[in-house]
Symmetry: C2
Subunit: 354 residues, 2 copies
């Protein structure tokens, strides 16, 4: 355990602090690249000594990233991190829950602004991730690509002329690239058109999941849209295809919001103001209810019904309300009911300034 | 139809504007005295000409009341009143729904402050009613008694040495007096102790009903407690007995509130603040929901959780939110959804001043 608190524990990630393109619907864009070292078995098959070699390579790489990209990068081996801090990283979407399961031999490199994180010894030796606000697939890809170039200079990647980057799971072969865009679809949810949109996306090779990855349920009308295939398309092709897919979803959500407003403005305003009333008054609030109410609040902001509230309050609170982060802010073990009380206080203070 | 709008249509009745004794639980106290004229058949059996005689006597009596009691009294025949205005009187508890059913031959006398109303040709020729805020059974009885004395000087009452005042329904024989106290019991409702309290009241000769009399359901945790028997007890006895019964209910409600607060303060505050949040934010609200939320709001005021809100906002709004009064305030026919919108606006303006 480190005695000093790592910087990521207190700050907000870059995607939580701002808004980008199409930010009325697209909360964030993410890319991850799966990379493995030559001549070292994939994580599921590797020895302890192999894992230590990868960790050592990661530590060295973090120094090189800092020099080459002129931005601070920190390397953290998970075994030196408290369980609570590991969960803070999960809830900030900087690492996966899976990484914490092998914490004795895993690590993470995080950039100063938390836009870039590199998981070490998760399913692959390296998983380079870049996360930025709004619809910006090109931007996250270019940032990750620059990181990948530096990393590729310090280590030798496993690569095959016909298969591309070699990965633990064959579904990641080729580019090893997965794009994930987090979209907020309260209009389609209210109009009960989500099923039709999701099945339409499947037909064009995209996958839709909940907020915390595969198998997690959609909370707060938030969905992650990802590309299914990593092989048979180059990086530029994936960027273009996914951008087009997301723009189509954005268009459908926007027109559905307009229809809802035109057909039942008062009823829509009522839902939004009620959510505002509860968020600024409740004294206890569960994660699930808070996500639902925040979704309505954000819809109200994006539809100019609540213009006085900053849009990024949404992504900030949806992360700060998570159990481990509330726990971290109080510095003591809390029962679920106590967390509900703290969560309600957080909502009131941040939204109404009470 | 009168072209001029009667004064009662716009104002608030005295009980809505203030608070009296035990006002944390007792909203208002009411007494009514059933009186009939000698030598004229009871209303169910009377001819048109009989009814006209009673109306003429009422008109004359209203002048005498004004002279003797030094307060303005107005006489209104219902046939000269619009249906909407009749319903305003019903919703202000100044007349019964039954009086409007025979509007061709019925009338009402109302005092300037609306503390006294006398229904003419309802079930009995005269029903003298006095309504004041808080627990004040002695006060309403003395006021009604003074009105009864003046009325008794202008007409000859049907009276029998052994039966007392003669009334249409034998259950009103004797004093013809019914005391009704409106109590607000959200604590007992939350603690699910209402059934036990109501059956206890039945054992001591009291009857419990909803807000708008027999058969009406309890909205907003409001109940009317009345004496069942009018015979075999004199007026002072009824005043004493009913005051004791109500004090007992007040005591139980107070101790239940204390228990709820002690055992689950945050959960109680949460319910109260959520009601406050919805009342100050909703854009559409039904009567039923509004009554429930107002009940929570008033509980919050009475328990010093919302000390900045005036308690009488409760009784004012519970009347002003009624369909006919909302209709009156807009001056045009409204659909139920439109009333829900107006009701929500009324709540926001009055509670948050928005």
């Amino acid at each position: 355990m480190t005695t000093e608190e790592p910087r990521f524990v207190r700050g907000l990630s870059r995607w939580m602090k701002g808004n980008g393109s199409a930010s009325d619907i697209v909360i964030s864009s993410r890319v991850r690249l799966a990379r493995n070292l030559e001549n070292i078995p994939f994580p599921p098959a590797m020895e302890r000594s192999d894992a230590e070699k990868v960790l050592a390579a990661a530590e060295e790489a973090s120094g090189r990233l800092q020099e080459s990209l002129e931005r601070e990068y920190h390397y953290y081996p998970l075994r030196e991190m408290s369980e609570l801090h590991q969960w803070v990283l999960v809830e900030k979407h900087l690492i996966s829950p899976q990484l914490t399961k092998s914490s004795a031999l895993s690590g993470v490199i995080i950039s100063e602004d938390e836009a870039v994180s590199i998981m070490v010894n998760e399913e692959d030796h390296f998983r380079i991730q870049c996360l930025l606000p709004g619809l910006n697939i090109r931007g996250v890809w270019e940032t990750a690509d620059a990181v990948d170039d530096v990393l590729g200079e310090t280590v030798r990647y496993g690569f095959d002329g016909s298969l591309g980057y070699l990965t633990t799971c064959p579904t990641n072969l080729g580019t090893g690239m997965r794009v994930s865009v987090m979209v907020h679809l309260p209009g389609l949810a209210m109009a009960e058109q989500l099923d039709s949109v999701i099945s339409g996306l499947a037909k064009v090779g995209a996958v839709v999941r909940g907020l915390y990855g595969e198998g997690s349920e959609a909370q707060g009308n938030l969905f992650q849209i990802s590309n299914r295939t990593t092989l048979g398309n180059d990086e530029d092709g994936i960027v273009e295809d996914m951008s087009a897919v997301v723009r189509e979803v954005v268009q459908r959500e926007r027109s559905t919001r307009e229809t809802l407003y035109r057909r039942g403005r008062t009823s829509l305003e009522d839902k939004i103001y009620r959510a505002h009333g509860l968020l600024t008054n409740a004294r206890m609030i569960s994660s699930e209810e808070a996500m639902h109410l925040l979704s309505m609040l954000r819809l109200g902001i994006d539809m100019n019904i609540l213009p006085h509230i900053a849009p990024e309050v949404f992504q900030e609170l949806m992360i700060r309300m998570r159990p481990s982060i509330i726990q971290r802010e109080t510095g003591e073990a809390l029962k679920p009911e106590e967390r509900d009380v703290r969560r309600a206080t957080l909502m009131r203070k941040r939204i109404a300034g009470q």
